[in-house]
């Protein structure tokens, strides 16, 4: 045995590992990335001990590689997430997520009087601050801040 540390979530041959997801937002990440709708083999672990993040979650998706635009969609719920791109059981690339300049169809507008909360309108926001996150609604022009951020 070369590595005495036992892996809690088994390794993949090729694909993407998303690490350092806050345990509480794991299922939001799954939903945002549409992992509940794809046929790839996916393993995940949650409530894992992390030295830096408290309780974290990890997702391993076999045979799946993400575009930056897609992966940045999770930045709102997992800003610390790190991606390892795996080929032949080896990490060939590491990536971090970045809050995009605009977000669409992810967050809910916190303004109860906004049209997006009345009719089937796809939400759209301009990101006016990245840390902490603040979103300006394209429709009602009100700000939704990190505290009141709700994922659809």
């Amino acid at each position: 045995m070369t590595d005495p540390k036992q892996l809690l979530v088994s390794a993949i041959e090729s694909g993407t590992v998303i690490d350092h997801i806050p345990a509480v937002t794991l299922f939001k990440v799954i939903k945002i990335l549409g992992l509940d709708k794809i046929k790839n083999q996916i393993t995940f672990g949650t409530n894992l001990e992390s030295k830096t993040d408290g309780r974290k979650a990890i997702i391993k998706i076999a045979g799946k590689f993400f575009q930056d635009d897609d992966i940045n969609r999770i930045a709102l719920v997992a800003p610390q997430a790190k991606l390892n791109i795996i080929k032949d059981y080896k990490v060939v690339e590491k990536r971090v997520v970045e809050v995009p300049d605009e977000v669409s169809a992810i967050a809910k507008c916190m303004n109860p009087k906004c049209i997006t909360n009345f009719e089937k309108v796809t939400t759209r926001f301009k990101v006016v601050s990245k840390k902490p996150v603040a979103l300006k609604c394209h429709y009602c022009e009100k700000i939704t801040d990190q505290e009141r951020l709700e994922i659809i």
Binding site: K113, V121, Y139, C140
Partner: protein
Amino acid sequence: METRSLVSIDDLTTAEILKILKLAAAFEKNPVQDILRGKVVATLFFEPSTRTRLSFESAVNKLGGKIIGFTDSSTSSVTKGETLNDTIRTVNNYVDLIVMRHPIEGSARYASEISTVPVVNAGDGANQHPTQTLLDLYSIMKTQGKLENLNICMVGDLKYGRTVHSLMMAMSRWNTSFNFVAPDELKMPDEYKFYLDNLGLKYRETTDLNSVIDKADIVYMTRVQKERFSDPMEYEKVKNAYVLHDYMLADTKPGMRILHPLPRVNEINPDVDSNEKAYYFEQALNGVFTRQAIICTLLGIK
């Protein structure tokens, strides 16, 4: 202009604003023309606003256009549960332009994205009311002969007042000095003050109208709206905080003019009305010319 609809004053560049004001001045000289003959404009008022609607209808009628629409959603298919999406998709088949007032914020932006004809936002809840802002700008331009380097004193409800927020943001393009006069409960929200800070513009906040009124070129009065208060005691405390009387105008600048988006309740004493500095009724008339300019611009007629 790039967008054919007018949803928010920020949709317009400074050049576009000035062009609309110039056109409004031309309509003031010649308000009755036949240039909208054959055009039909819808006024969809999902909540009542008599003043705004009449102003738009007068603007269209004087230019020979026709008006269809409703004045209250209880008389439209909205009461049957129709979505805004469906209303707009239907009505845009009948008309050349839609003027819409709606209580839901962001409804005008949404309508403008669906509609095949230009949409003019005549107020979407507490959000935007750009034609009011343009008529305010026109009134300022007309009475002061310029928009640059003016001293504007905004009085009353600066917290919830949509018109003061839009006007402040618009006037910040022309190096304006602002004085904000409001009771503590109704002060200008921080986000707007940050906006001015970022532009490096000067402003002063005070609760004492008399200390700033003599320097003002424009005094912009607003009504304290009862419906904004959850506690009726709070309303009683501030409702008469700022009432403008004729004697208070004695030492003001000769060219100073008083604006008010109307309706007025008791924040301007009627003894001010006969003072030449009272301008709020002319301001309402300017609304007709400004709306003529907006409609013709969006239709590409002028």
